[in-house]
């Protein structure tokens, strides 16, 4: 037995323990919490922070968070939503509307926004599932519901039309910079807030996966008819999936509106926002807990670093990003999280182990 095998075996023993997910979660989030400091460590005269700024880290965690939220609906129940920008935009707009026009604290506003998004999600779900939309048709319907909002908002003076909202100063709603105001004077606290969001949605995802709800979700994804034949009310559970997913996606939008200075229909409801929100989950591995997080750490920095590196040629970053998208769906249709097992299969095949199946 090689060392590699014994390492794997002891990992397997650990993995079988009941506390294993907890330990893994703690390790992962501790690492994430330490990241802003890790990137500043000077290694042989080069520090990671030169390319990987705190801002990039924040964006990465934002998209990890939205992808984790998207995953609850699309990864778990298998209903591929291509319109999560609707929920994201609702989150951003409702929070800002309440904040700017009514001076309602963003933490409270965010919850209201989440509920509005969940209701919108229920509407989309109730209509689409009742009429049994599937595959492309469902994806296009969700996209239409998102695009619809973009044009509605653009044309509503109550929501300041195409101009959008400019984030007010804390004093405008009777607060001071800090956690209560949801505004900070530097980026580090922002990072920990979104990391906290990610922690919450990850814990909830984990709880869903480990309850009958998650099992019903997966059963629906695998085969709705088979699930129904043993008593799974798929319509109801698909609606639960949409509502929860929409709620958390909206909180992501709320965060976005508090981190950046402005929101406009063309940014938070953008056609491409729909893709950005879900992409980490598809790249990382839809339906898995770690996939959206790993996926975001692959996708977002590539896009952001390309953007900051090729500033002289406007557009080159998107060519790289586009090529990256094509490559990843062609070579890794099941997501990055399948790589370790694929690597193991390859390794075993190299060693001439015939037991391993092709998949």
């Amino acid at each position: 037995m090689s060392t590699l095998d014994s390492v794997r075996e002891s990992y397997q023993t650990f993995d079988d323990q009941r506390f294993a997910p907890l330990v893994k979660g703690v390790v992962l989030f501790t690492l994430l919490a330490a990241l802003p400091f890790i990137i500043e460590i000077d290694v042989a005269g080069m520090e990671l922070a030169a390319t990987l700024s705190l801002k990039v880290l924040i964006l990465t965690v934002i998209y990890a968070y939205t992808a984790q939220s998207w995953n609850i609906m699309s990864g778990y129940t298998g209903q591929f939503s291509f319109g999560h920008a609707a929920f994201f935009g609702i989150g951003a707009y409702a929070t800002q509307k309440l904040l700017v026009d009514f001076a309602i604290n963003p933490w409270l506003g965010m919850l209201v926004a989440g509920i509005i998004a969940a209701l919108y999600g229920l509407l989309i779900g109730a209509l689409s599932f009742r009429f049994n939309l599937k595959g492309h048709y469902f994806a296009l319907a969700t996209l239409a519901f998102a695009e619809l909002l973009r044009f509605v908002v653009t044309n509503m003076s109550e929501l300041r039309g195409a101009n959008g909202y400019f984030k007010p100063f804390p004093r405008d709603y009777g607060a001071e910079y800090g956690l209560v105001a949801f505004q900070f004077q530097n980026d580090l606290p922002y990072y920990y807030v979104i990391l906290g969001f990610l922690l919450v949605v990850t814990v909830i995802s984990w709880a869903i996966k480990n309850s009958w709800v998650g099992l019903y979700f997966f059963a629906i994804r695998e085969d709705e008819r088979a699930a129904a034949s043993v008593g799974v009310p798929s319509f109801r559970y698909k609606l639960i999936g949409v509502a929860v997913s929409a709620f958390f996606t909206a909180l992501g939008g709320a965060y976005w509106s508090m981190y950046f200075n402005t929101i406009r229909p063309d940014t938070v409801f953008a056609l491409f926002k729909n893709v950005e929100l879900l992409l980490p989950a598809v790249v990382g591995g839809p339906g898995t807990l770690i996939g959206p997080i790993v996926g975001s750490f692959i996708v977002t920095p590539v896009s952001e670093v390309a953007r900051t590196t090729f500033t002289n040629i406007n557009g080159l970053d998107r060519i790289i990003y586009g090529a990256f998208l094509v490559a990843i769906v062609i070579y890794s249709p099941r997501g990055v999280v399948s790589w370790p097992s694929r690597a193991r299969a390859l390794w075993n095949r190299v060693r001439g182990d015939t037991e391993v199946s092709e998949r």
């Binding site: 008819r225 129904a228 034949s229």
Partner: protein, 254 residues
């Protein structure tokens, strides 16, 4: 003609499932026409007929995959025709599928747990029910494998385990023995008998005639969407209409 009375006095047990005048039309095609039958508690009924006779369509009408266009189905006196499949399952009727439908990326035990959650929301409890039923069908040693990786024979047993995890009063089995080796078929027959002893009624579509004739208390024969015979197995195989439906030929055709 052995198209005898469904309510013949010699049948034991209470009537559990009643199919009355059930018909199903798919755009222009009359797949089922005016089918009557009953299943009593504790009975094993075989449903046979040549390809395209409408057996699976009848299963689908009973289990709520789609509503019949005419007629009613009642379970313990409650009308279940027209109810969605999950409500039929919750009323106490479970089924398996002709082409197995494992929840491929779930493990074997999780597949059975989906059925068990009909009774409990507690994961541990569902797991215990599931493991018990996997043990019953002989799959407990493969509980943690992905269902998609099982052989056909094992998938069929898994479907059985998943269905009985809902603790049904009646179980509809659609060609569950097709593709099994003779030993596997024999084991399956043993499971059917045990299920009956537990009080579960079985309605079985099967092409392995030897097996079906052997296990069934009564046999219902469908041909071209209509019931053409009902009776004890040995009576049914003597029936001219049944022989004709299977072997063909025009000379005896009506």
């Amino acid at each position: 003609m052995t198209n005898m009375d469904h309510q013949s006095p010699e049948r034991d047990g209470e009537t559990l499932l009643t199919v009355e005048g059930v018909g199903k039309r798919f755009s222009g095609l009359q797949a089922l026409q005016d089918v009557d039958m009953t299943v009593n508690s504790g009975e094993i009924i075989g449903l046979i007929g040549p390809n395209g006779a409408g057996k699976t369509t009848l299963f689908n009408c009973i289990s709520g995959a789609f509503p019949p266009t005419s007629g009613t189905v009642t379970l313990e006196g409650n009308v279940i025709s027209g109810l969605p499949a999950h409500k039929v399952a919750r009323a106490g009727l479970a089924r398996t599928f002709q082409i197995t439908r494992p929840l491929e990326e779930l493990t074997v035990v999780e597949n059975a747990m989906v059925g068990a959650h009909i009774h409990t929301r507690r994961r541990q409890e569902a797991r215990e029910i599931a493991l018990e039923n996997l043990e019953f069908v002989g799959l407990s040693d493969r509980a943690e494998e992905e269902a998609g990786e099982l052989t056909v024979g094992a998938q069929k047993r898994l479907e059985l385990a998943r269905a009985i995890s809902t603790r049904p009063k009646i179980l509809l089995l659609d060609e569950i023995m097709a593709g099994l080796t003779p030993q596997e078929s024999n084991q399956m027959l043993g499971l059917f008998r045990q299920l009956r002893e537990r009080g579960t009624s079985l309605l079985i579509i099967e092409h392995d005639m030897k097996a079906i004739m052997n296990i069934s208390d009564y046999v219902k024969v469908l041909d071209q969407g209509q019931g053409i015979a009902f009776g004890k197995p040995n009576e049914v195989v003597e029936d001219d209409r049944v022989i004709e439906a299977y072997i063909g030929g025009f000379d005896v055709d009506a």
